[in-house]
């Protein structure tokens, strides 16, 4: 009896890995043929996305995803790491117990609500004060910076808390101020964990879809500056999935393949960093 239960539990435990394999299998099966047909280089580095003429080049979307993600990291990482340092090292413990879940709540707000806020509030501000169409890289980066904050804060706090107490005590005993201890001792020691958080945040930013569709403007061109509209890989899939058929639909799955590789690469790097010990 106990043997059977053990086998069943093992089977359940492998389900995540099995699902991951199934996802890869089905997305690749749908997407890879069209990549082969139009040539991998043409698909990845082609500038023209004209589904009706059978031209599938996703380079503008790759550039779009990278711009928006870079912007989100530039805004979100300093903010997130500062929050994490404050909550882990400086704030009274009672506050930290309330503030940490509050920041995690930012992850609980539906991405469509962020997108809506971007459209109603942020885009008009950018349009009137900075010019351009408003729905832009800048708008998307601002919103994504907020959306990746909980990931960065959560992982960074864990990394900071994992630094052995003796490091901190040693530094303070030598007469360093709290800030010197944080800056010279704790942050360097927690570096790889914080980096893991940043990379996980990057994965979230690259993968985010609905908010980005609503606020990035979705133009299928290569952007010149932060105020241009762009379309990301995720947005490309989501916008056209509703009506695409045949080669067109396969090309969307192929976009998914590229996205999948991108995210898996980031996950591997993050896992590697988070495993590193002191």
């Amino acid at each position: 009896m106990d043997k059977i239960i053990s086998k069943l539990l093992f089977l359940a435990a492998t389900s995540s890995t099995a699902i991951l394999a199934l996802i890869a299998l089905f997305i690749f099966k749908e997407g890879v043929p069209i990549m082969a047909k139009s040539g991998l280089a043409h698909f990845l580095f082609g500038n023209e996305w004209r589904p009706l003429q059978g031209m599938f080049g996703i380079f503008p979307f790759i550039v779009g995803s990278l711009w928006i993600t870079a912007g989100a990291l530039i805004l979100g990482v300093p903010l997130g790491v500062c929050c994490a340092v404050y909550l882990a090292e400086f704030s009274p413990k009672k506050w930290a117990n309330i503030l940490k879940p509050a920041i995690e709540l930012l992850a609980g707000i539906p991405s469509v609500v962020y997108g809506f806020m971007g459209v109603m509030w942020l885009a008009p501000i950018i349009r009137t004060h900075l010019g351009g169409p408003g729905l832009s890289i800048l708008a998307a980066s601002c919103v994504l910076a907020i959306m990746i904050l909980p990931t960065i804060v959560g992982v960074s706090i864990d990394a900071i808390n994992a630094v052995p107490k003796s490091y901190k005590e040693g530094s303070l005993a030598l007469g360093a101020t709290e800030w010197q201890t944080v800056w010279r001792v704790i942050l360097p020691a927690a570096r790889s964990g914080i980096l893991a958080g940043v990379i996980l945040g990057m994965g979230r930013a690259v993968g985010e879809t609905m908010a980005v569709i609503m606020i990035s403007g979705n133009a299928t061109i290569i952007p010149n500056n932060m105020l241009d509209s762009v379309r990301t890989l995720t947005a490309n899939i989501a916008i056209e999935m509703g009506y695409a058929i045949g080669d067109h639909r396969q090309a969307l799955f192929a976009t998914g393949v590229v996205l999948f590789f991108f995210i898996m690469g980031l996950n591997m790097i993050a896992l590697k960093f988070s495993r590193r010990k002191f």
Binding site: S16, L20, V119, A176, V182, L252, G256
Partner: protein
Amino acid sequence: MRISPAITQRLAKGVLILATISALGVLIFVIGFVLAGGFRHISWSFLTEPILDMGRGGGILPAIAGTILMVFVAIGIAAPLGIASSIYLAEYTEEGRVTQTIRFGINCLAGVPSIIFGLFGFILFVVILGFGWSIISGGFSLAAMILPTIIRTSEEALRSVPKNYRDVAASLGATRWQVVTRSVLPYALPGILTGVILGIGRSIEETAVVIFTAGSAVQMPKSLFDSARTMAVHFYILAREGISNENAYATAAILICTILIINVFAYSLMHRLMRGKS
């Protein structure tokens, strides 16, 4: 000029506090913005009437029903599977190559963007298995997405159970399964529930997965094989297609309130578990 360490510390602390306050400010602003715009339009009839005229009039009852049914399907699959996985990982095995592979699968699955789950669910459940755009397809896809959340939280809960609970039960001659079901699970229950509730929250927030697997029918679903929209999808369509800003705000307000209640409940459960431990 050299700035004294004490002043640097004060400056740095100021910056950190500022960062934390701005992160919380954003949270409060988003919630406030949506509630202020939405509360005026919420009424009893809004909650209990069918969707009329594509959402220009009527209420959101079918979207509420769609949300609840889809969450039920998703949790019905993901909760048993996830809890069984976590029992295997925490109680039935030693850390080794097998658990490493399983954990790797879970971590990667957790990083997969929702749009990829959408593509996967669309091709497997909607097309290949022939469920069509339906609550079943949507629920299955959501189940795959929330599985890692449930596994991680419930494993953490199981690991927080003191070792002597197991030892005492085992010394009385209980089999491993009896130890787990009679002694470990009752203690870990609040933590496991937290995982399930967070999974519910994730399902309610999600748009990208649902829109490609469950479609967006406005009618009241009559069976699990009917297409239905969730509140998040309904809000997205209202906002994106500019159908009705008033109803969009109202739907968003209800969505945010639901998420807030769910998260606060989940954290208070978790908090109770932690307090019980110390």
